[in-house]
């Protein structure tokens, strides 16, 4: 039985950074048939190339498809912060662009002697030098890359914090940050990999009835709701935002943003006014910050209060995890002092540091939460959270979307993949066995 004809390019890119070489090999039919995709296939590939210290980036069968919120790609690697195998989800457009660029999985082996960038385009991988980008802040790096590569459609990259081997460095998807709290940026920096760009200009075939299935799911979801735009704040409310944090958000202008093909945006761009202590000539400055980290905002807001937005923006600029930075910020500091501390953290090399402390996140065991990068908000309780996140990480659907809408069943999404009842049953069995593994 071949379930995944239309859902994969059936190509794996193998990159050896130490040799500065790459090859594209066919994806093993048997592998996707058994493991379905996403984190499950990534784990298998990780185990195959275990000796080469691999970093795996992969998509699920539904990534880029008509299934709602089909935006996910997963990075699998040995976390330098948690010390275990981690699956960090990438939302926004990385997953679909990776798939549309003709490669389903990337296996990045070894480490380069100088900073490198990977360009994935039309099923080919180019390894180019990124020496000139070392130390650049994230916005500067993106601007340079856009000029050099003629506007790549998606970029994941590390900032100066990773360049300086800061353990709490975090990967950024464009200028929008990510849910990486497991040290993926540190792992990329240890391989001298500055970033990966995807130029997804190839297409993906689709099954005729997929559009109808999408419509049915969305119609049922939003039948009772007049407006679908929920934004970042709605997720914060689900995980229990404190009243004082609500006050912080009142004086700002929010614009809700969604990942690829997501009908219910869970991120927001915030326009805020702040008094930049470093620029005395222009006391009231309007600025924007993109909020996608539902764990990072409350953590930073608790420390920074009303200054949370410029502090988060600073973390995004340097490529830092706001949760880890918030822990390091001293209490009752001025904005200027806090900004200076963030800059200091970004430029102070410290090497890998495995976190020993582990707190339960809501009802979710710390170890399980860390397994998925430590950035997925605890929207649902314990076991249900775990099952939904596993499910999303394998199929290539945004985990936050599936946590926000538990009424979407696995069965609903299997329908996008299966041609008939027999396939449906087979998929359910496989998924169950993967979970048990």
């Amino acid at each position: 039985m071949k379930l995944f004809d239309n859902f994969y390019n059936m190509k794996v890119g193998i990159i050896d950074l130490s040799e500065s070489s790459s090859e594209v090999v066919p994806l093993d039919d048997q592998l996707v048939s058994e493991k379905i995709g996403g984190a499950a296939v990534n784990t298998d590939l990780f185990n195959r190339y275990k000796d080469d210290d691999p970093l795996i980036l992969g998509v699920g069968p539904l990534t880029g498809s008509f299934a709602p919120a089909s935006c996910l790609s997963v990075a699998t690697f040995l976390s330098p912060r948690f010390g275990n195998l981690c699956h960090v989800p990438f939302m926004l457009r990385t997953g679909p662009e990776m798939k549309f660029s003709g490669i389903d999985f990337l296996v990045i082996k070894g480490s380069s002697s100088s900073p490198k960038i990977l360009h994935v385009d039309k099923g080919t991988i180019n390894i180019v030098s990124a020496e000139h980008l070392a130390g650049f802040e994230i916005p500067q790096t993106i601007q340079t890359l856009k000029k050099e590569i003629s506007h790549p459609r998606s970029i994941i990259l590390t900032g100066p914090a990773a360049d300086h081997e800061v353990s709490c460095a975090s990967v950024s998807t464009g200028m929008r940050g990510s849910l990486d709290k497991a040290g993926l940026a540190f792992r990329m920096a240890s391989k001298n990999l500055k970033g990966i760009t995807f130029n997804g200009i190839d297409g993906l075939p689709f099954a005729e009835d997929n559009l109808n299935q999408k419509e049915t799911i969305e119609r049922n979801l939003f039948a009772d709701k007049g407006h679908r735009n929920e934004g970042f704040l709605s997720v914060l409310e689900k995980i229990g935002i404190e009243d004082n944090l609500k006050k912080i958000t009142k004086k700002t202008k929010w614009r809700n943003m969604a990942c690829y093909h997501c009908p219910s945006p869970c991120m927001s761009s915030v326009e805020f006014t702040w008094h930049d202590p470093r620029n005395r000539k222009n006391p009231g400055t309007k600025d924007n910050v993109f909020l996608s980290d539902h764990m990072g905002f409350p953590a930073m807001a608790k420390k920074g209060g009303g200054d949370v937005f410029p502090l988060l923006k600073s973390c995004l600029r340097f490529g830092l995890d706001p949760v880890a930075v918030a822990k390091r910020l001293p209490e009752n500091r001025t904005l200027l002092e806090s900004l200076d501390t963030i800059e200091e953290i970004s430029f102070t090399p410290e090497g890998p540091e495995i976190e020993r402390e582990s707190h339960q996140i809501g009802e979710i065991p710390a170890e399980t939460h860390k397994l998925f990068g430590g950035g997925i908000p605890p929207i649902l309780p314990g076991k249900l959270w775990v099952k939904r996140v596993y499910f999303s990480m394998i199929l290539g659907i945004c985990p936050i979307f599936l946590l926000l809408f538990p009424q979407i069943s696995e069965f609903d999404l299997f329908k996008f993949l299966a041609k008939d009842e027999h396939d449906l049953k087979s998929l359910e069995e496989k998924f169950q066995s993967i979970l048990e593994d």
Binding site: S65, G174, M175, G203, R228, Y260, C262, S264, N288
Partner: protein, 435 residues
Amino acid sequence: MQEQAAEQNNIITLEDLRPRREEKKTFSDYFMPRRHPSILFDPKKCTGCGTCEMVCSMRNVSKIAPASASIEVLRDEENGRNFAILCQHCREPLCVEACPTRAIEKGEDGIVRIDKVFCVECGLCIMACPEAAPFKDPITEEINKCDLCEGDPLCVKYCPAGALTFTKGKKIRWIKGLRWTVQAISFLLLAVILVGTFCSLKAGALSLSCPAGVLQNIASSGTVVLVWILSAFLILGLTILAGRFFCGWICPFGFFLDLVDKITPKKIGWPSFLKSRMAKYGILAGAVGGSCAFGFQAFCPICPIGAICRSYGTTGTLNGANLGIVAALAGLEVTERRVWCRYFCPVGAILALFAKVGLIKIVIGANQCKKFSCIQCAEVCPMGIIDADKLREGISPDIPMTECITCMRCIDRCPYGAAKIRFRWQKIVPGKIEL
């Protein structure tokens, strides 16, 4: 010459293959303009999910391939804003003009299409389009553009945030009908039935007067009578409430000029060195100064509004000199629309001063306005105050209420609902493009 030579040599020309379609204006076009279909994009609602690109590419290349979609969502990451690039199906499409093989045509239904049989993929249309809406499909390597899915755009249908709206353009211009009716009734009342009453009407305790006449009266007599001032206040109060509504809807001479404009649609242009809208304030000052010097209302005998109001009707007197003034000023309509109102009318000058502190303003909403692809508001404005050049640059123009006669032609004509009346204090800033 080339065509003649081609004819002699029996060469088939482009004109033979693809004769340019001539758009004939029918009588009904004056009242129910042709459809101008388009997709409106609301950047405030767009979440950047790209569902529009997915479904569009599905139709274009039978694949999910956002790069092959006729609509492109640009994501301004730093500012967290999205903007869509899509064909506006312009009224006068530049791509049609640029295409050397006439492969692009605007159909009767207003949709601009590419006939791929004739397209040689030169890419001139991409360069000519201000939106860069035509594009080279990376999969088929053909030039493609939005064809509005032949009237039922998929992107609009599937946009989860409702950021896209399909409009076929307004069909019925009801404001136009209402304005002509009000203007005709006002003309009948002021110029035929209640002859001379615009200049001064006294009905019992109620006294109504032309504000310019009152000002000249005060200047000539050297006395200020409160009743005179109050009598002028009807028009001035109306101006504070609704701008120069009097000029656009009530003034009998304005109506007369609008009628003249209908028979002189082609304009030869007013000399640029005379294009000073301050002239009317000079005339007003001259009228007041003259009245003061000569001891009578110096401007009233030659006032075209007064001339029209006093010269007709059962009790009116046909005044040859007055008719000469009216005829001469009507003749100016061959140069520009409402030349008198724009540059010379002293009544308009007084009303302009009050409109400046009025309660309303006309705005062209930056978000909805399609600017360079439309420019219809600038074309219909009789006072010529909507800056077409700014629209061509992609900027929503500022509309000076001192010059606006609140005729609402721009509101009536705008197919996108971008031109609106707003209170002065409402926060809509024309001139800025809000992404």
